[in-house]
Symmetry: C2
């Protein structure tokens, strides 16, 4: 058995995307207080104007600006104070010619007034206020609807809900929203050498804790299907079980072209394999398949390779199901020293970011095998060396994709 | 009452930092599976080597490299196959002169062997294997300790625990770690016009939901002390109550220099005010105080000003208490069009990032008053215009500090 053809990341994504397009996540209505980190399933419009009325941005006097056109230090305007507008008040005060109303910051602008003169430019003389400057209409006024207009879309479908969104939504009176129900993701680790915790002579399965926690950041509580020995029958059984409870299955191990690579063999029997082998390093032995309606991401067992494929394919697929708005905004840095790369592969080099004298450097991590998990913990992100390069010289300006952000940019490159 | 002197952000930070240095958060031991997003309170060292033994990186034959120095296509070396090393096996096989052992990827390197020749370069002839190339010592071998060395620090105190850390820690057998116990933070909103949810004629207090959710991202469940009217006695009462249950109090409103700015007046009575007024826009009316042992961050009521002060002072203070390792790695972008700024103030302009033809532009948000909460939801981050600038022309290369990341860079600038 051989890899028939290594697909480029871009081609692999075209195939995955076409399958994802047929999928639609169900939605649910939840309280906005519980919505942090979820993805919104509809465009949200405001039913109100914010602010709901014109209000003053300063402490001062509400005036009719047209009456101050001639006002100056030598020719002050004299207006009669007919009342006060305070915060929280909703008096029916109206000003007419020659009148002004004292107004607090945030208080509603009285009818008839169209501007506010700040206290510093006013002198109060008994029942009158003397104003020594002219003001344009709506000076020091926060207009009704200036923050949010009634009917305006304030959050687009697919937006991730951040703290400030919750604030704004509460501000316009939206207390419940429709969000996507996260897909059910089952994790299966294959490998006779694996143990879920430290044991002499065994290897700890680090992929599962890594993916479990990465999935938490996407609001997903993954289903742990355990560790399976390198046994055809056992692997088939656990995949069958996973298909009953999950929308997405993520396996690790057994996906290369060796005799004992049973995962890929069982997937071939049980479902349809859409791609096997991607021209990326680490992460080359990756397969994407479907069993019935269940999507299967079959990742290699080596922790770095598995992580790379998770970031490139699993995470971005789930974000696509959430209709997430993603922008590829990498950190721009200077490569500290040259790195070699294999022709024909997109090579992902783990780099640490270091700032020296206002220049940001990307320092490649030295120990970098696909089993070297510490190459991730010692780095801030990756750079992607294109397929047609044999490496990059030191000093090259590179784009760094952070571990803490989606790697959209890499699949677009 | 006036602001005596506006401090620059940097000076304000010097004062805050000196107070924070006297504070030490307690720590607790927790299971690594529950540790996502927490901050580690000690340097963590590995008690083991990973991998724990030399192992093969490929399927092939384990050999003594010295015996292959003369091997070539025309002069192959012939070695006797004396056994097999499989994954998970721990046989006591040893190879001697003229011998080889079949070995699987990931299987332990037998004693006596120091390299592995990949299957593709081997021909099996009955009990013998013919090898047609020489190999350097440790070719295709993943060395013991290559990923993590025994005694090596694998996570430094103050690191935020990300999914890949959990994976690595589990990999070396660490199942429990010491983390900082998050400080208890009490939130108080002041303002007679405020309501916790939408009500005609009232204004929704958007600061509290914003901060509550921002604090969740720092593993803090904030204590909600409610909304307090602009009343000196009420404010005093709630502050006294908060002092009993919190390490940090965050208030909004009543911190400017007007008559009705009661929060600052009550703080003056109850404790010590270290600074009042910072040369930043929005966010100028900010005070930092202490009542007994409790730190008080008194923020303005306007949602954008409050948010800016939260990001600049509250968030970074809590991260400092966590001893967080923070790097100021901004996104570099091109300013889309010119923005004005007030001399003497550090002006924070909300910008949206847009990528066009591989150039990243920072597009200033047009509606930008300090009450315009939508200027945050419509932007990705802020740029900081220095105190001695009257603005920035379009095309300027700017640093963008994202809403989703700490703004360390701004306080260092």
């Amino acid at each position: 058995m051989f890899f028939k053809k290594l697909l480029r990341i871009k081609e692999a994504w075209k195939i995955i995307r076409s399958i994802l397009e047929g999928k639609k996540l169900p939605t649910e209505k939840i309280e906005i207080d519980q919505a942090l980190g979820r993805y919104i399933a509809e465009d949200l419009k405001s039913n109100v104007d914010i602010p709901t009325y014109d209000k003053s941005a300063v402490d001062g006097f509400a005036v009719r600006s047209a009456e101050l056109t001639g006002a100056s230090l030598y020719n002050p305007a004299l207006l009669k104070i007919i009342g006060k507008s305070t915060i929280g008040s909703h008096s029916e005060l109206t000003i007419s010619e020659g009148e002004a109303i004292k107004i607090d910051t945030g208080a509603p602008l009285p009818k008839g007034a169209d501007a506010v003169v700040e206290l510093e430019s006013c002198s109060v003389l008994g029942e009158y206020v003397e104003i020594t400057k002219r003001v344009a209409p709506f000076t020091n006024v926060i207009r009704k609807g200036e923050d949010v207009k009634k009917g305006e879309v304030i959050m687009e479908k697919g937006s991730k809900i951040e703290p400030w969104h919750i604030a704004l939504l509460k501000g316009v009176g939206i207390e419940e929203i429709n969000v996507y129900i996260p897909p059910r993701v089952a994790l299966i680790s294959t490998g006779s050498e694996l143990s879920s915790s430290w044991k002499e002579g065994k290897m700890v399965d680090t992929n599962k804790p890594n993916f479990k926690n990465l999935l938490k950041l996407l609001s997903i509580n993954a289903l742990d299907m355990g560790i399976v020995k390198d046994d055809r029958g056992d692997i088939r059984k656990v995949l069958e079980k996973a298909c009953e409870v999950a929308d997405i299955i993520v396996t690790t191990g057994g996906v290369s072209v060796g005799e004992r690579d049973y995962t890929i063999k069982v997937l071939e029997e049980m479902g349809e394999i859409y791609l096997h082998g991607v021209a990326v390093r680490p992460g080359m032995p990756f397969a994407f398949a479907r069993i019935g309606d269940v999507l299967v991401f079959a990742l290699p067992g080596n922790p770095v390779a598995a992580y790379v494929d998770y970031k490139l394919f699993v995470e971005l697929s789930i974000l696509q199901l959430y209709n997430a708005k993603l922008q590829a905004i990498p950190v721009i840095a200077k490569l500290e020293y040259k790195v070699p790369s294999s022709l024909g592969f997109k090579e992902l080099i783990r780099v640490k970011l270091i700032k020296r004298e206002d220049v940001i450097y990307a320092v490649p991590v030295r120990r970098r095998g696909s089993s070297i998990l510490s190459s991730i913990t010692r780095s801030d992100g990756v750079i992607a060396i294109p397929e047609d390069c044999e490496g990059m010289p030191g000093g090259t300006v590179v784009k760094v994709y952070l571990h803490t952000q989606p790697w959209t940019g890499i699949i677009e490159e």
